[in-house]
Symmetry: C4
Subunit: 98 residues, 4 copies
């Protein structure tokens, strides 16, 4: 349990780091307002992808590529960990009580 709790803590820290990096990135590289930058980050890392708030320059495209690839690996890790939490926790209980 402690092992999984510390992994979930790591995921929360990684999610917050990704949102912070994306928001700061779009504020610095694109000159977006805070709301525009966090909105752009959230629609990017969640793959909602409504569209660019303003058309991207090549630099913004390269930053966005790295933001997408980073967050997809992170989200894949998050989903695997939560599944693991459910599967190993619940299944373990199943067999213990048999």
């Amino acid at each position: 349990m402690n092992f999984l709790d510390s992994k979930i803590n790591k995921i929360v820290i990684l999610v917050i780091s990704t949102l912070t990096t994306g928001t700061l990135g779009y504020m610095v590289i694109s000159g977006y307002s805070f709301v525009d930058a966090i909105y752009m980050t959230v629609i990017t890392v969640t793959t909602v992808g409504f569209g660019e708030v303003k058309p991207f320059t090549p630099e913004e495209k390269i930053f966005t590529i790295f933001l997408i690839l980073t967050s997809i690996v992170l989200f894949g890790y998050a989903v695997s960990t939560f599944s693991e939490y459910l599967v190993s926790g619940r299944l373990f209980d199943y067999f213990k009580h048999k």
Copy 2:
């Protein structure tokens, strides 16, 4: 089984609540028609994300950020529960009949 049935009931209620919240939100905050509001909600929470029906104001962006983050946590829970349903139900049967 009853434990899982009640969880699936909760998910159905949460999905309907999310769609209702999103639709009401876009009708009140954005002045969208009912069809536009439910269309905007469905393309948002399913991450299809065609684009804003009309360009968003900062208030609409903040509402959309909360709608996305809420529905992603909800959908993650829904997927985990359905997996759990399949895995624990089926696997249990596997070991029972061995």
Copy 3:
């Protein structure tokens, strides 16, 4: 194995039905060409969601809402079945050979 094979056959039939329904729908309701209609269907049911080929009328929005909700339930079922295939097939082999 036969049980899972017949489920995978059902999924393939359901995926083809969804693509056909979406393509015919956009050709009839929106007057799209075949390529535009299948492109619109594929970017919708896969949640890529680049955007409407032409802005949607309310009728097209309602059709799209049903297409999205149908395909998401279908794809959820498809992912669960493939996972089940892997988990029950492989895990079963694991325990059989122990």
Copy 4:
């Protein structure tokens, strides 16, 4: 373990092949710059889908349909394999130490 390692190698090779195919495709078919082509490929195969960099011709739509369908099957395989890695590795350890 060697069996799974070789599967993960295959996935990495397939992901790189998909990104290369998409990037070359958009450079040749659409005349996109390298940055535009890799950006278009990344937002397509990850289903972020901000939108076409420039409106697509029918040929580009057909290429994009194949790119999406190929990458979705590939990503489904990747997710299944990583899950399998976690589930069979961890669960196996669980039962071994019982």
